[in-house]
Symmetry: C2
Subunit: 348 residues, 2 copies
Amino acid sequence: MDKTYTIAIDAMGGDNAPEEIVKGALLARDKYKNLHLNLYGDKGKILELIGETKQDRIKIINTTEMIEMGEEPVKAVRKKKDSSMVVATNAVKGGSADALFSAGNTGALLASGIFIVGRISGIERPGLLTVLPSVDDPKRQWVFMDVGANAEVKPSYLYQFAVLGNFYATHVLKKPNPEVKLLNNGTEEDKGDKIHIQAYQLLKNGKQLNFTGNIESRELLNGHADVVVADGFSGNAALKAIEGTALTMFAGLRKILVNGSLKTKIGAALVKPALKEFSSVLDYNNAGGAVIAGVKAPVVKTHGSAKAKTVSNTIGQIKIMLESNLVPDITKYVDENKDQFKIILEEK
Amino acid sequence: MDKTYTIAIDAMGGDNAPEEIVKGALLARDKYKNLHLNLYGDKGKILELIGETKQDRIKIINTTEMIEMGEEPVKAVRKKKDSSMVVATNAVKGGSADALFSAGNTGALLASGIFIVGRISGIERPGLLTVLPSVDDPKRQWVFMDVGANAEVKPSYLYQFAVLGNFYATHVLKKPNPEVKLLNNGTEEDKGDKIHIQAYQLLKNGKQLNFTGNIESRELLNGHADVVVADGFSGNAALKAIEGTALTMFAGLRKILVNGSLKTKIGAALVKPALKEFSSVLDYNNAGGAVIAGVKAPVVKTHGSAKAKTVSNTIGQIKIMLESNLVPDITKYVDENKDQFKIILEEK
């Protein structure tokens, strides 16, 4: 039988919690036979939702507090000791769960991951990692990190993001020799501010990485890289600009097609299935949740408005992270390459 | 009669130079009766293109060198003293022209603007300013600055970008009380790195600005601001991500519509006019060229692949900059508010 894993589920985080989280957990439980799911939250409510369903491989742990979406993250994590998120994170820290899932407050999950689960020794700053599609070749998914955890970075952080992203690409996306690029404001080696110029040199000299230079945000969706490394500020700006432009364009398209002439309306009805298929390529939710990369266990955040199916898919993503030995392999690599990491730290 | 202005035209810069530049200049000459256009470039070639056309309000100044698109900007400007761009810029500096147009090397034009035309006294760093559309409300154009000149900024630069953007919005876009926002990785006051947190405070306390807080790049196309201030690194990342996503989506759409089933193809033919209209809203070239803002005269760059019509439109944009007294009004304002600018400089 497959090795079994236990995933701690923050059942109260997200706009549709606990309903969609619990439904999604049940879907995942039925789909992935080697997973045990521990649900943290309001036991009464969760039991009501589960109803007559069998509770195989499901455990409910009652918690009395909730971290809201708008709360100040660090303060919330510190104060709400009995919140579903904090208790679930402590379970991972204590070893009674192998990984953590949440659709709740991103900042609070980041703080929980970093301060409770803890950084992998040698990784200075964990970051937010997400997987995006390529429009030209929907099968060429790529890893984008950091997309918002670290507004201020040092060159060494960027190097470490590359290592983390590289492991994610090999282990979870199963890419044999991922092409790593640095998000910058031009493709030439000397582009960007001091930090990016120095990071370029670190990446170029990092012999275990297949680093192929800078990438501009204009090219991100065109499938030119498997891993794109960014500081959290411009990575966030690029990610949100992509999301915003795609959403705005689809909304604008819908508007002109629906409000158009009769001819346009007939045409719109005919192209609708093709448009729907196209929009699903760009729906980055299909690619799963955002990972707090660089901490001692898989900690994954799906978007706040996630429905059951997305919750289940994200749990499937965590399963691959666990089965591929992602975190232990990163830990081992960083430990074995201490000297290299040390040089980088001194250089900065 | 209207006041007349002379615009120096770099006739050799751009992928379609000199053909489309000269054609565009002739269009603009016919359209804008108070403009004199001085064309800098290969006199023989330009004369050939003009042919039998009357040379009213057109002057040709022969130059023997050209700055190529891929050249290292600062070096090129320094070495190629007889290039069309450098000679045209010197004409602006010397007073024989009021403004400069080019479709050539952006970096070289930036260097020419800053080092030859010169900074407005009190403006520490000129930047690249561009105008973008809103998809929700195509009439609500907005000013975006800096989109790439300054990868590294100080809070005072960001404040000055806001002042420059604000003047552009009032003078050129004719907005009475422009809403100014700061591009940041969240809407809260304490978001971003130290520089953006400090810039927020400067902008909030800058009493002559209608500053209404941070904006995330996700909202840029939704018409929530008239002026968006950004550091050149993340501004560039956001701008190129918007461009790239829009281009990639249109290309992807075209592909699925053309390669689709017969039903899809028929539908595609019917919706084509509506799609074309929609894509023109997002075609940011309609909004004109990128302005080197903060220098002592209007210096405007249109994109390298510009055709005659875009060249003519960009010359029309320069005409509005001149007629609205943009640069003199900025110069006067900065001079009259020296104390305020001084405080900002000391605070940083």
